[in-house]
């Protein structure tokens, strides 16, 4: 039971990363590697603020703003300077490595004896993992509702249309460059919040904690889409959140089965590679079966 609660609450904390990756990878149709830098950026910002005595919620807000700024930098590189989006994200990610070290002053910043967003309130006498679950769920629900609202507005619709068909949305008078910057801003803001939450839950921020976050995000998005559908934007949001939880469950199960933790990233990468090639493999398989008959 403890393991289930821990798994679900981890899934919730990482769900914001998954939503962020969904916004770039699916909505904007850009593979944005900035997340590998904005996730630890959120963690570093929040941890430093908490150590300096700031309120944990303020630390999350500051982390979000820092992440948004990182998104704007990538957006500027790819829209105004015409650097391919993939490379623009890599540049920001690399730059953020140095920035994160500067923010923390060292490679690892522990939050020993510090108040975090998970120790602020003693919700009905719940234990630590249950508190994490409740607070994580509340934050994810609020963020998901805000996303649902925003992407239903005229502006949000324009951002979504930019990903689907830039020609069409330009012909309707929308500056696609601005929409791409806005999408990257929102995405990396969410990713940074995720980093801030994970740091507070783990009790430390580490400069290396961003490694592989893009793949974790993609795994959550794809698992969610396959298992829970993509009928509408609302459906996609829910799918991605659930996908993040299922991903954590899969990880917990393979670890229980005795897989060395060091192999986790390899496992995740293979999982995502398989999932991304699924449509092609399926088509091949159908063709093969038709040929056999």
């Amino acid at each position: 039971m403890d393991l289930v609660i821990a798994t679900v609450s981890q899934g919730m904390l990482w769900a914001l990363l998954a939503i962020g990756v969904y916004l770039t990878f699916r909505v904007l149709d850009i593979a944005d590697l900035t997340v590998e830098g904005s996730f630890p950026l959120g963690a570093a910002t929040a941890a430093s603020m908490i150590v300096a005595g700031a309120h944990p919620l303020m630390a999350i807000v500051a982390a979000c703003l820092a992440g948004m700024l990182a998104g704007v930098v990538t957006g500027f590189l790819c829209t105004k300077l015409k650097i391919p989006a993939l490379l623009a994200g890599i540049l920001t990610m690399i730059a953020l490595y140095s920035v994160n070290l500067r923010i923390m002053g060292k490679a690892n910043l522990p939050l020993l004896q510090q108040d975090t967003v998970f120790t602020l309130w003693n919700v009905g006498g719940l234990d630590k993992s249950m508190t994490t679950l409740v607070i994580g769920t509340v934050i994810v629900l609020v963020v998901a509702l805000l996303n649902y609202w925003f992407f239903g507005t005229e502006l949000g619709t324009a951002v979504r249309a930019t990903g689907f068909n830039p020609h069409m949305i330009r012909a309707n008078g929308i500056n696609t460059d601005n929409m791409i910057v806005l999408g990257l801003l929102l995405s990396n803001g969410l990713v940074a919040i995720s980093g801030a939450l994970v740091a507070q839950s783990n009790g430390f921020a580490d400069v290396g904690m961003g490694v592989g976050t893009i793949v974790i995000g993609l795994a959550s998005v794809i698992i969610g889409e396959v298992l829970f559908g993509t009928r509408s934007f609302k459906n996609c949001l829910i799918s991605v959140i659930l996908g993040s939880i299922v991903y954590r469950a899969v990880i917990a199960i393979v670890l229980q089965m005795g897989m060395p933790p060091n192999d986790l990233k390899l496992f995740t990468a293979i999982l995502v590679a398989l999932a991304l090639s699924l449509p092609l493999l399926q088509a091949r398989w159908n063709k093969f079966r038709k040929g056999a008959h």
Binding site: M168, A171, N175
Partner: protein, 264 residues
């Protein structure tokens, strides 16, 4: 309405693929003009249209709409005045979004998007009415994704989208070329109806000489980056395909070689 003065456009200047696509083209459209544009492949028809729409900047010359110089405006800003339907049925709509969402975007063409919720009961009622006018049964499918529609349905929808916030100028870039003949005819009839209802100033490229003669009140023939001749309303009524071919030979000094023009 539309005043194009001496615009020129060269693609890939200074390279071996250099191509002079438009050469000193001038064109004036009066309000309500419905001009059909014909010409062989590479004549500059699409370049002319894309230059007006702002897909790329022109090298020289100026473009004015209703007295406003838009020569230096980016594409998205020109959309305030211009409605467009593309040749490719995939290009005018967002396939992954619902019909309703596409219409809501088009209804506010050229306006700054706000944080108002884009869907409303009033809006849906209005969209249903407009879709009913298309007579394709789309009024009951507001929540269908546009990707599920056929090419003809998508072009009809794009036409509606291009005209629902009344544009000063409607650009139709061979918008029926990718459709089967029967569907093409339907979309053209719809085009004529909408243009007449709203008295839209329209520029329509077509590969089909019969359509070029049948629709509109003016016809221009393009050839090697310039306008070869410009036929007014009175003369256009008396012309046949044969006359057009003769006029082309006289003006260009060569036989019309584009098979696609002859065959259609």
């Amino acid at each position: 309405m539309l005043h194009i003065e001496n615009i020129s456009k060269t693609f890939n200047p200074g390279t071996i693929t250099e191509k002079l696509a438009l050469h000193n083209v001038s064109l004036h459209l009066a309000p309500g003009d419905f001009v059909t544009v014909i010409g062989g492949n590479g004549a500059g028809k699409s370049t002319l249209m894309n230059s007006i729409a702002g897909t790329y900047p022109v090298d020289e010359g100026s473009i004015m709409i209703d007295g406003t110089d838009i020569t230096k405006w980016p594409e998205h800003k020109r959309a305030k005045y211009i409605g467009r339907v593309f040749q490719d049925p995939m290009m005018g709509t967002a396939a992954g979004m619902m019909i309703e969402e596409n219409l809501a975007i088009a209804e506010r063409r050229g306006l700054t998007p706000t944080l108002r919720w884009s869907s409303s009961a009033d809006g849906r009622e209005h969209f249903r009415k407009l879709l009913k006018g298309l007579d394709l049964g789309l009024e009951d499918r507001l929540e269908s994704k546009v990707g599920l529609l056929s090419g003809g349905q998508r072009q009809a929808l794009t036409l509606l989208m291009a005209t629902m916030a009344q544009p000063k100028l409607l650009l139709l870039d061979e918008h029926t070329a990718a459709l089967d003949p029967k569907t093409a005819e339907k979309v053209l009839a719809l085009t004529e109806k909408i243009v007449a209802q709203q008295h839209l100033t329209t520029l329509m490229i077509t590969h089909n000489m019969r359509d070029a003669l049948k629709y509109g009140n003016r016809l221009i023939m393009m050839y090697e980056g310039h306008i070869l001749f410009d036929v007014d309303s009175e003369k256009k009524k008396t012309l046949g395909i044969k006359d057009l071919l003769e006029m082309f030979e006289q003006a260009a000094g060569s036989e019309l070689s584009s098979d696609s023009l002859l065959l259609s």
